[in-house]
Amino acid sequence: VLWILVALILAASPAWAGQLDASWTAPTTRTDGTALDPSTLTYRVYWFLFPNTPCPGTQFLVTSPGVTAAHLPNLTQGMSYNVQATAVDTSGNESACSNVATAVARADTGAPVPGTNLTVTFLATPPPPPTGFTVNGLTAGQVVTGLLRVSAVPTSGSTTNQHFRFDLLNSLGVSVSGNDEFGTPYCFVGDPGALPCLAFDTSTVPIGAYSMKIVYTPPTGSPTSSVIPFTISR
């Protein structure tokens, strides 16, 4: 036998009339003083018309584990009811009946009452900075004749406070274009520059092996670079 004292509090809620709400404080010890885990206890809530004693009886509902409140539906408005509760441990041992609480079921308004304290806070979070870029118009090993159009695009995120540098390097790694460094547009235009993003005429430089070095400086963090080897032909 599980000896647990359940002190019952009964409220006739004006919000759910024809119904009653019962609540109680979860026990933490057995009557022999040993500890109980309240979260594992379920409760049987018995009810019957006043002045009958509902517990023990056959008319009861069972709460979920750890729940110390119950809503008794479908009562008769204006009638007095007696309510008692028992605790049941995980082994199925049921405590003795609690005290009897009495209340009058009130008229049922049906829908729940609303909650309280609605607050709304607006948050504006800057997007994360881009972490890389993609290159358009030039691939490694490509043989280029005539006009060369190379551009770069940050992978994602903000497009402010960042820039690209494009260097056309010869086979010795020496820049033959000068640095093109722009906040925008992100393209190679040669030197002198032909903004915005006009093509570079490769006939202005000797044929041979070249590489395009692209250095991307993101809004925050360290620059990243890519070197694309290619060949200029006629």
Binding site: A15, W16, Q19, D21, A69, A70, H71, P73, D108, G110, A111, P112, V113, P114, G115, T116, N117, L118, T119, V120, T121, F122, L123, A124, T125, P126, P127, S158, T159, T160
Partner: protein, 116 residues
């Protein structure tokens, strides 16, 4: 003699670009002590007069007391209300609570020093 020209911009800086801020409205509320509640709906409208429509696609669980809405726009007023549902009907709304999302204010007091 070293000459310096100091320009202090005391006015707030104006954002030159429109950053793609990630916006959200963070809602919170206190639930009624009603075990008959089976779900909660968060509703939104452009004005306090409505009409309000549900933001959540399925009712929130009865214990839920926060909600985040990311379908809002800078400078556009938005109003929220919350309703509780049981098998017998829907509560009167809690709210509305209205506001207008705004971008964070930039800093101030930028100092630029020109060196000869």
């Amino acid at each position: 003699m070293t000459m310096r020209r100091v320009l202090v911009l005391s006015a707030l800086l104006v954002l030159m670009a429109s950053p793609a801020f990630a916006l959200q409205a963070a809602l919170s509320w206190t639930n009624p002590a009603d075990p008959s509640v089976t779900g909660i709906n968060v509703q939104k409208a452009a004005t306090a007069a409505g009409p309000f429509v549900n933001v959540n696609t399925t009712p929130l669980t009865p214990a839920t007391n926060t909600f985040s809405d990311t379908t809002i726009a800078l400078g556009a007023q938005v109003c929220y209300q919350v309703v509780w549902v049981n098998t017998l009907g829907t509560s009167t709304p809690l709210g509305p609570a209205c506001g207008t999302p705004a971008a964070p204010l930039p800093g101030s007091g930028l100092t630029i020093i020109f060196k000869p």
